[in-house]
Amino acid sequence: MEAFNTFFGEFLVWLPNVQLAHFLIVSAILFALGIYGITTRRNAILVLMGVELVLNAANINLIAFSRYGGANFDGQVAAIFVIILAAAEAAIALAIVLNIYHRFQTINVDEISTMKE
């Protein structure tokens, strides 16, 4: 019980004092939500939205470490490349989803189980 009390006291001091770990925990929550969306959604576009959430979580981590870990901009350059690849990925994935819709008349990922008609 005492150990818990000291832990809780430390936590209450830590909570309003924003540091690196706060950004990392926000990104962890965003990452977990993205994984949940990817796993549970049946609509292909909502699965893509989950992927975007995961990529944003990774970007927050990169930029937070770039800011707090020595003030060089390597993390920010990596984040730029992540954004570039996310844009390319979204365009390609939506083109594929549109093709799937033309062929199967649905984008429910459970029902798209054949590779060839």
């Binding site: 924003v18 770990a21 706060h22 965003l30 977990a32 549970t40 800011r67 003030a71 901009f73």
Partner: protein
């Protein structure tokens, strides 16, 4: 608590709450539009991390490009006749367990490892100059490869999304 902390919690709340709507909303349109607020909240977090150029890029590319693409996808892949754009969920319980384990592990790891991280040094006034120099010197090869990747993605997406009559007639 200073202004920085208050603003951080404001943006963090916007980000996480709208991400919850994205993941849990049954209505696809609501999910797509709350993704907008998630991206804006993340851009605010970038500003707090002194990444001004990346915040602007986030708003331009994610909100202006990717989100509009998503909305086009939603509109084009649902029969507009039945207006209810609903969608179901699968694997809810295993996913909840997985996400609780993964997210809890990450959050605990981050809290215990980086709890007492030192205060950051004061950053430069603007990051654009240094980012541009880095892209043109140390990161020149990835920069060029990224431009080629974008061109290939552009052509590939246009070719893939186009309705080819020959394929349909076969």
């Amino acid at each position: 608590m200073q202004y920085f902390d208050v603003v951080f919690y404001l943006f963090a709340f916007i980000t996480v709450a709208s991400a919850f709507v994205v993941v849990f909303s049954k209505n696809i349109i609501y999910a797509a539009f709350s993704l907008l607020f998630t991206f804006f909240g993340v851009a605010g977090l970038y500003v707090l991390l002194h990444a001004d150029f990346l915040a602007v890029t986030q708003v331009l590319i994610y909100v202006g490009g990717i989100l509009v693409l998503m909305l086009f996808g939603v509109m084009l892949t649902n029969k507009v006749v039945n207006v209810e754009l609903k969608t179901g969920t699968i694997n809810t319980v295993p996913a909840l367990v997985l996400v609780a384990v993964v997210g809890g592990t990450f959050a605990g790891l981050f809290y215990s490892t980086w709890k007492g991280s030192a205060a950051p040094p004061t950053a430069a006034a603007s990051t654009i100059t240094s980012l541009g120099e880095m892209l043109m010197t140390g990161y020149l090869l990835p920069f060029e490869v990224a431009s080629v990747v974008l061109l290939v993605a552009l052509i590939g997406a246009a070719m893939t999304a186009r309705r080819t009559r020959k394929l349909l007639e076969k």
